[in-house]
Amino acid sequence: MSATHLISVSDLGKEGIDDVMRLADSFVEVSEREIPRVPALRGRTVATVFFEDSTRTRLSFEAAAKRLSADTMTFAAGSSSLNKGESIRDTVETIEALGADAMIIRHKSAGVPLQVTRWVGSRVVNAGDGWHEHPTQALLDLYTVRQALLRRGDGESFAGLRVGIVGDVKHSRVARSGVLGFTAMGASVTLVAPPTLLPPSVEGWGVEVSHRLDDVLAGLDVVYLLRLQAERMTEALLPSLREYTANWGLTRARAAALSPAALVMHPGPMNRGVEIAAEIADLPCSVITRQVANGVAVRMAVLFMLLGQGRNDSGRPESGQEAPVDA
């Protein structure tokens, strides 16, 4: 693996995703130990640079960095010099000057993490940029599905797996990264949403589209519910929350139609009672808390991949023609 930054799931491809999955297996083992910490990234500094609110992603990255023995720095937009008018560029250059080897960036505008890669030498991980992508969420989702497949004895192949991504696709970076991830792994993806909550075009996404959850629900192996993002809705896209729940929410009545082996997933934070009935999130088919737990191991894998593979700035491993140094 020779990735320098992680901006999009498409930076990895199937091979890169497989590498992350295998590496995450080792970090799950680490996380289960009494002392869940390895010295792998000692002396490296990981900065979480969040221009937008977050609970789980930020905490998850910080836990991942600490379990790898990296130092962490936290930037929170609300209490920063952004309020004095400092630009994003000056902000990230300052953070780099303070010694950040990697920056985990979240911003409400698409493209900010990519732009930051042009300004700083640090490794950059996209932790969510606007409606664009949230690659580590997709990776932990893939890992969670793979884990369920393996535990069930079905092997780790996603071929033939039917994934339904349900809800507010339009505003969802999780959906975009998820589509890229699941399709790269060979699963078939159906987007289920009212027309107003679909992006203007899904051409080239390689997905099917349905407007009725009841039509597709029984045939799904994975039901991925998206959060209704009220804070990003600037126009009237839905008549009412109740109508949304009645048609596209995973209600208790609707959950009865799920196939017995189906997995229910949600990226969080959940609007219980809106896209998911309050008690469904706690059913055995729900892997929502496992998604969160796996998030730490998967983010450890991403950080280790970006920071543990050679310090030269090209991001390529050194040629290694020196005398063998090991046995």
Binding site: E29, P39, G320, V325
Partner: protein, 190 residues
């Protein structure tokens, strides 16, 4: 971690070309039997002994050793495996990736841990393994068993049980193979 993985994976990306057989598979079997007896002798039995094979070359040897110990003592000796990738001191200098997930499902506190590897060379893998083991509890003692000690140590590590002392050149490679025995050869980078 076996020398084999390190030399044959990128960035080295070489191919191992064997020049001479140093031990036959039968020799290897006899050595495993002998080391088994030495472990029992040194520890006055196997009551607290746990074997931990280093990924990947040490793991099959550890398993065979466990069978021998079982036959000698009549009690089953637990076998784990350890991948030291995250404890290496060359992280950041070269690509370091684990070969397999570590499997040590017991608290090592109070146990006698016998680390098992195929080839002992610079000692850096064993150094990393000692750090890693500390995260699984405070072992009463840690001993080291290797099939081949080929010299060229870079850290003060000494094995307790040795199959064969084999003088080598630094740029040679030693490969321990279940079917072919112990081979001495070179890594040829195509």
């Amino acid at each position: 971690m076996a020398e084999r993985e390190r030399m044959l994976t990128p960035p080295r990306g070489g191919v191992f070309v064997a020049r001479a057989q140093v031990m036959s598979p039968d020799d290897v079997t006899r050595v495993i039997t002998r080391i088994g007896h030495e472990i029992v002798e040194r520890n006055h039995g196997v009551g607290e002994v746990v074997l931990v094979g280093l990924q990947t070359g040490g793991v099959p040897i550890a398993r065979r050793l466990a069978r021998v110990l079982g036959e000698i003592s009549g009690t089953e000796v637990p076998v784990g495996s350890l991948d030291v990738a995250f404890y290496r001191d060359d992280i950041g200098l070269r690509p370091v990736l684990p070969e397999a997930v570590t499997d040590i499902p017991w608290d090592l506190s109070g146990r006698t841990v016998v680390l098992v590897d195929d080839v002992l060379f610079t000692g850096r893998t064993v150094r990393a393994a000692l750090n890693a083991l500390a995260d699984y509890g405070r072992a009463r003692r840690i001993q080291l068993a290797v099939m081949v000690d080929r010299g060229h140590r870079e850290v003060p590590i000494r094995p307790d049980f040795v199959g064969k002392n084999l003088p080598t050149r630094r740029d040679e490679m030693v490969d321990v193979d279940e079917e072919k025995g112990v081979m001495l050869g070179d890594v040829v980078v195509p």
